[in-house]
């Protein structure tokens, strides 16, 4: 009994820490899923947009001395533009030729390698720490300590995802995105300009890349090799079901919490082994994830 009472705070602390990182995973996974839902392929270049956004936020704060709000805005707009350009440069011509998804995947990988190496070559491989934002960085709630920044990130993630959910269900453009994700050529027959719509979806996903890039940078610093962590977006999206927004959110939080439990209760070196095993497990046993559309429905 005594032992249980003593251990409960650790479990609660682990849960809180897990939710904090899960919120960022959810943000990343949402952007990722948004692109998957409309083009039906895994855009591995998305992780690099997140990495670049993290640098944008870093330069905005350290270089230009901007506050967190303006820096977030800069990173979001910059990432939206980068994501949009990613589509125009790497995928739009494949799309017009109706190339199979494999070609998109290869183009995405090429784009990733290019962007990562470009950062190595121009900015360098250093780890760049964001300036400290709070004099006292942590907060105590019910015995668990949580970073103020983590709390802010979590609240902001939930807000951003709610806003996206509202947008996608209640606006003309949002409904068009959902319709086109089901049957793009029918959407065109209803007057949707696919070029325009897909550009918008990439820009929208870019906004989410911008947010998560800054949050990741504050938590883990900005550096070119961030791909190991942006890959978590893919894992979270697969767990939730590729292309499903509620799935991406659930997958993100679930992955964050499970991972943190593994690193606290087993070993932190096992954390990524666990995450990637989970990915393989889902891909093999449950490829449509927790909330995913069944494969028949996708066709």
């Amino acid at each position: 009994m005594e032992g249980l009472v003593l251990k409960l705070p650790l479990a609660f602390q682990t849960l809180v820490t897990g939710l904090a990182i899960g919120g960022i995973y959810a943000l990343m996974a949402v952007g990722y899923s948004l692109i998957f839902s409309i083009l039906n392929f895994s855009n591995f270049a998305y992780g690099m947009v997140i990495m670049l956004a993290s640098f944008l936020g870093y330069f905005a704060m350290s270089g230009l001395g901007l506050g967190l709000g303006p820096a977030l805005l800069c990173a979001m707009l910059g990432a939206a533009l980068l994501s949009f350009l990613n589509e125009r440069v790497a995928y739009s011509s494949l799309r017009r030729r109706r190339a199979p998804p494999l070609y998109f995947m290869i183009s995405a990988m090429g784009t990733s390698i290019f962007l990562e190496n470009m950062v190595y070559a121009t900015i360098g491989s250093r780890y760049n720490a964001y300036p400290e934002l709070f004099a006292v960085p942590t907060l105590n709630i019910f015995g668990a300590s949580i970073g103020k920044m983590d709390l802010f990130a979590m609240v902001f993630s939930v807000l951003a995802i709610s806003a996206l959910t509202f947008f996608i269900h209640h606006t003309r453009l949002g409904i068009a995105i959902r319709g086109a994700s089901y049957d793009a050529s029918m959407a065109e027959l209803n007057g949707v300009s696919l070029d325009w719509l897909i550009g918008t979806v990439f820009a929208l996903a870019g906004l989410f890349a911008g947010l998560s890039g800054v949050f990741l940078g504050i938590k883990y610093m900005a550096y070119p090799n961030m791909g190991w962590i942006t890959n978590k977006a893919y894992i979270a999206a697969v767990i939730g079901g590729l292309g499903s927004l509620p799935g991406a959110v659930a997958g993100g939080f679930l992955l964050g919490v499970l991972e943190t439990f593994v690193s606290v209760y087993l070993s932190s070196t096992l954390r990524d082994v666990f995450s990637f095993s989970l990915l393989i497990l889902f891909l093999v046993l449950m490829p449509s994830g927790l909330f995913g559309k069944t494969l028949e429905e996708k066709v």
Binding site: S185, G191, E297
Partner: protein, 242 residues
């Protein structure tokens, strides 16, 4: 209003339409009759802008048809596609809104939704239900309503009676007759030759991608070749036998 002039359409090596010409005058119902694989859907998709002819021209209201389906809708042509193709992941209401995608007049859109709910009571009953959960007949009503939401000057309907029970089919044809009375111009592709010829001003018969016969609905109904091939009427001793 619509003037299709000598178009050919290919899928890779396969030529699905050969030098097809047809005209749809304003305010009329024109039907397109033909067996499976004759090229009806190909022609519909081409007029809707989803396929490009390799030769020939299509003019709408005296102007060349714009390139790209979304521009064709903007020009006033709307397609109710074969097999309905509703957005199964959207509600009935959202499917109708997709049909109105290019319109910005909120009030007009809502007025049209109300009007269509009057025309198809099933829409109101299933308003917030996902379209994927509706029966085939219900889906067809939604598909027709969605096609009308853009307020098209020309409505293309590709086999609206496909897979429907005879009673529902009759309902669909009476809706087409209603639409015509309200002044909508319609190009109708049908295997159900008898019913479509009865409500048509003019009809074309497609066979292996070519127009083999054309004429007014009444003339084709009485045509011997038509009766043998499409109307299921064989002549014995000069008298029609069903």
């Amino acid at each position: 209003m619509l003037d299709v002039d000598c178009i050919s359409v290919c899928y890779g090596q396969i030529r699905a339409l050969r030098r097809v010409s047809l005209k749809v005058p304003r305010g009329s119902v024109v039907s397109l009759v033909g067996a499976n694989g004759a090229g009806k859907s190909t022609l519909m998709m081409t007029i809707a802008g989803a396929l490009r002819p390799t030769e020939g021209r299509i003019a709408f209201d005296g102007r060349p048809l714009p390139a790209g389906p979304h521009r064709v809708v903007a020009a006033g042509i709307s397609l109710v596609p074969e097999r309905r193709r509703l957005y199964a992941n959207l509600t009935v209401r959202e499917n109708l809104l997709m049909g109105a995608h290019l319109r910005r007049d909120r009030e007009g859109i809502h007025a049209d939704i109300d009007r269509l709910c009057g025309l198809f009571p099933i829409l109101k009953e299933r308003f917030s239900q996902y379209a994927g959960t509706l029966s085939g007949g219900e889906q067809q009503m939604v598909a027709i309503a969605r096609g009308l939401m853009s307020r098209p000057a020309l409505l293309l309907m590709d086999e609206p009676s496909l897979g429907l029970a005879p009673l529902i089919t009759r309902q669909v044809f009476s809706i087409i007759a209603d639409l015509r009375r309200q002044g909508t111009t319609i190009l109708l592709a049908e295997q159900n030759a008898h019913q479509s010829l009865e409500i048509s001003d003019y009809a074309y018969v497609l066979e292996s991608g070519e127009v083999v016969l054309e004429g007014s609905g009444q003339v084709l109904l009485n045509d011997v070749r038509m009766q043998e091939s499409y109307l299921g009427i064989r002549k014995k001793n000069g008298r029609p036998v069903r």
